[in-house]
């Protein structure tokens, strides 16, 4: 009795010590640095983002502007959805949003692009690669009109734009690698033309930013880029945006069911098939467990079939693509979140889960595993170990409590202001 009261007190002490330490790292109100003018090429911004990239671009741009940078953000225009740029709230009005008329959407493969584009006499190239090139040419026109000190291009779709802007303006180019073709193809066969565009971007760049050491190593190995040219800037999280969410699946929880969450695109890169294999093993020990797959993607059908084949269809719920609000509520209902990615350059979702106090399991094959400690780490292929760790979290309240408490505090260190500060360091090297 006395001892456990001692433990509780000590635990609270250590949490508050940790918290106060983290708070001292919080963004400082510094004098604005030199006002860099940045021409930034992206391909999506929230709320119309289909993955972590849009969030990363938005948050990074916002944090850069807070530090005094002036940003012109260039986006390819969507065809079906009008991007309500006017509604996008950046902290500073120094950000302008420019649109280029183009139907590009992130994460699409060449085949899905051809299917989705409506060819009713529009000017768009039905071929994705051609479209990327066209986006690049348009970008050159913007580069002529705008004044800026440095060009910052996010991922391969915007690399030709960055290269073109550099050619026209003779300003330095920084390319930011959030993912490579090797990641997206889950280490399977790659699209050679996308690889070539990536390579051209990396070669034309004056400096390269990668979202992790994991990705830096890949760039060095697969693209032959000199390691001296690469800076690692880990992604962050805006902890203030993590609101207390309503819990969903109340009925399930009331019945004592445990919820294991997969959240992300259902594509080969994210390892959904390993998630289902692990689910099969977990259910054997704990039949009262429900597995939720939140997201959509080109492997969805295959994964649904796999679920049926393994005889666990009644234990796996597919939610489809979800809004941010729904996501927050799913996080806080989940007993454990798992990211079994085959190749994850960073993995912002893991930070979001941690900020939501959800015990988190991530694969060692992820960039985020370099920056967080209060998580469980597994190799994506080690299905037994994934199941072992899921079951451990589900059956030991003390473990899940520690992971949730320590993880949510630790993640506050990973903020966007630090990422922005590192980007400014990179700009300094080339301007």
């Amino acid at each position: 009795m006395q001892i456990s009261r001692y433990a509780r007190k000590k635990y609270r002490d250590s949490l508050s010590a940790l918290l106060s330490k983290v708070k001292s790292f919080a963004p400082r109100q510094e004098k604005p640095l030199e006002e860099q003018k940045i021409l930034m090429f992206g391909w999506e911004l929230p709320p119309f983002n289909s993955g972590g990239l849009g969030v990363a671009c938005y948050e990074l741009a916002e944090s850069l502007s807070k530090r005094g940078s002036r940003i012109t953000f260039v986006l390819p225009k969507r065809q079906n959805i009008k991007l309500p740029f006017a509604d996008l709230v950046f902290a500073s009005d120094r950000i302008e949003i420019s649109e280029i008329d183009s139907p590009l959407r992130p994460y699409q493969t060449r085949s899905s692009y051809s299917k989705n584009v409506i060819l009713d006499g529009s000017q768009y190239d039905p071929n994705l690669i051609g479209e990327v090139v066209r986006y690049g040419k348009q970008a050159g026109k913007i580069a002529k009109k705008k004044k800026f000190d440095v060009i910052h291009a996010h991922d391969w779709l915007s690399f030709p734009a960055g290269i073109e802007a550099k050619r026209i303006s003779h300003k330095p180019l920084v390319v930011h690698v959030h993912a490579t073709e090797f990641d997206r193809s889950g280490n399977g066969p790659i699209d050679q033309r996308i690889f070539e565009i990536e390579k051209a971007g990396l070669e034309n760049a004056d400096r390269v930013i990668t979202v992790s050491q994991f990705t830096k190593n890949r760039i060095i190995k697969e693209y032959g880029v000199n390691s001296n040219k690469i800076d690692v800037v880990h992604n962050g999280i805006n902890a203030a945006k993590v609101a207390e969410a309503q819990k969903s699946f109340k009925k399930l929880k009331a019945n004592g069911k445990k919820i294991v969450l997969f959240l992300g695109r259902i594509t080969i890169q994210k390892g959904p098939d390993y998630f289902i294999q692990a689910a099969k093993k977990v259910i054997k020990f704990k039949p009262n467990t429900i597995f939720i797959m939140a997201g959509s993607g080109d492997m969805e059908k295959q994964v649904i079939n796999q679920t049926a084949y393994l005889g666990i269809s009644d234990k796996v719920v597919f939610t489809g693509f979800l809004s941010q609000e729904k996501l927050n509520s799913i996080y806080s209902s989940a007993d454990v979140y798992i990211m079994p990615s085959v190749s994850e350059p960073f993995g912002i979702v893991a930070l979001e889960a941690l900020a939501n106090k959800t015990p988190t399991i991530i694969s060692n094959q992820s960039g985020v595993s370099e920056t967080v400690k209060n998580v469980l780490k597994v190799d994506f292929w080690d299905v037994d170990e994934i199941a072992n760790k899921i079951l451990s979290v589900l059956s030991n309240k003390s473990l899940s409590q520690c992971l949730a408490d320590m993880g949510s505090i630790e993640v506050q260190d990973n903020n966007w202001d630090q990422a922005a500060a590192k980007c400014l360091q990179t700009y300094k090297k080339v301007v």
Partner: protein
């Protein structure tokens, strides 16, 4: 005239190997793991023996022979002695040679280097008795001085230890306990008849144990003449300087390349250069020097971390959970009367398991990480809890086998009788209710 009292803690745990939920019910060996370097107890023991135990024992043997007035003391945990016997018997022989010099005192502790005093006084007494027996068998000494795991101490422990017949006990000379008091004097434990306290001089001890190889330390490099002078400075201000540390300091925490062995070889001579200095064992210290007063210690104190409390083993919900669960099995395990199950249970009580689960400094990656063979406190916890669950299953299956056996032996008669009685009682209480309803 300060006497110097050297005491070394010599201990290795049986680390729990990678043990998953799929091993439960399949594999009952939690400690043998030839596949993973980091968690293979045999490999670790061989490494530490080569780097520390064997060379350090040789250095001390030479010193004891060279200086008949040189004295040292050890407590060697049972879990380490078992591992020596199993993997490296020559280390036991080298300790026996040290003891044969007559200049070495051995202390008692809990056989499994456990936190049992916090949870089960019975288990605590049992483990101390086991340790005493082991020391008698191997070294022919009966310890008079007690040293609890990681110098965990309070008044209640002192009282218990005195009842068990010990004359003295070791304690951390923690500032928040001592205040104005001087650790270089013998004290008496509050609430005891006459149990003497030897207080660790943590500053001088840690100069060797922690700071020796630290290049940022102003005194680096530390050499024996300088250290000898520091000892002599206590002249007139204390009786005995207690230098207590992990034995693994020599060659394992401080590697040979730091010059630790050279330092050691020269140290006794440098200390003895001052005619006022000498060496004592803990027993000699409490015989020779009067205590200077009583020391009242209500809350637990230990020699771990800056906090000098229990938080290294008991500061988060995982540690609390694991400790409670392992001690909650006590009755079941002992009733099994199965030696293997009982010894596995005791090996799982070793304090190191809970140290590995500590999250206090995890984010900083400090000293805890250096001593943690697991990737994270969470990994340590998961392996441990899985192993514990298997152990519980083993005890249960023995218990149910015993019940079956007892039934076959004819004891069922009494049981079924009592059952009949119960059911008849139930029936009689039900009837009136029914009758009421009928009305």
């Amino acid at each position: 005239m300060p006497s110097v009292c050297f005491y070394f803690q010599v201990h290795q745990p049986f680390r729990v190997k990678k043990y998953t939920i799929f091993d439960i019910g399949q594999d009952h060996d939690y400690f043998e793991n030839p596949n993973l370097d980091t968690l293979d107890n045999k490999k670790i023991l061989e490494k530490v023996s080569e780097k520390c135990y064997l060379p350090a024992n040789q250095v001390f043997l030479d010193l004891l022979k060279k200086h008949p007035e040189f004295k040292i003391s050890y407590s060697i945990s049972g879990s380490l002695l078992e591992q020596f016997e199993k993997y490296k018997p020559e280390v036991i022989e080298s300790f026996q040679k040290l003891v044969e010099t007559g200049q070495v005192e051995l202390l008692d502790e809990t056989y499994y280097h456990s936190l049992s005093f916090l949870y089960s006084p019975n288990e605590f007494r049992h483990q101390v008795a086991l340790h005493q027996k082991k020391i008698q068998e191997l070294f022919g000494q009966t310890p008079k001085i007690f040293r609890n795991t990681e110098l965990i101490y309070n008044n209640a422990l002192a009282q218990e230890v005195e009842k068990m017949g010990y004359k003295g006990i070791l304690m951390e000379g923690a500032d928040h306990i001592l205040h104005w008091r001087n650790p270089n004097f013998i004290h008496k434990a509050a609430g005891t008849e006459n149990l003497k306290l030897l207080l660790r001089n943590y500053k001088l001890s840690d100069d060797i144990a922690f700071r020796f190889s630290n290049h940022d330390w102003a005194e680096h490099p530390l050499q024996a003449p300088k250290y000898g002078k520091w000892i002599s400075q206590a002249n007139g201000n204390g009786h005995v300087i207690n230098l207590f540390m992990d034995y693994e300091t020599f060659g394992e925490h401080q590697w040979e390349t730091t010059g630790i062995f050279e330092f050691l070889k020269n140290l006794p001579e440098e200390i003895l250069k001052n005619k006022d200095n000498d060496f004592v064992t803990p027993s000699e210290a409490i015989e020779r020097y009067q205590d200077t007063g009583e020391l009242d210690v209500q809350d637990y104190v230990s020699w771990a971390d800056i906090e000098r409390d229990l938080s290294a083993w008991l500061s988060n919900p995982m540690q609390n959970d694991a400790l409670k669960k392992v001690y909650s099995l006590e009755k079941e395990i002992l009733q099994s009367e199965d030696d293997q199950i009982i010894s596995d249970w005791r090996k799982l009580q070793t304090s190191d398991h809970f140290y590995y689960m500590c999250t206090k400094y995890f984010a900083d990656g400090d000293v805890h990480k250096y001593f943690n063979p697991y990737e994270s406190p969470y990994e340590a916890f998961i392996n441990y809890m899985n192993a514990l669950r298997d152990l519980k299953g083993r005890a249960k299956s023995i218990a149910s086998a015993k019940r079956k056996k007892a039934r076959k032996a004819g004891k069922t008669v009494t049981k079924s009788k009592s059952r009949k009685k119960l059911s008849s009682v139930k029936a009689s209480t039900k009837k009136p209710k029914l009758a009421k309803k009928a009305k």
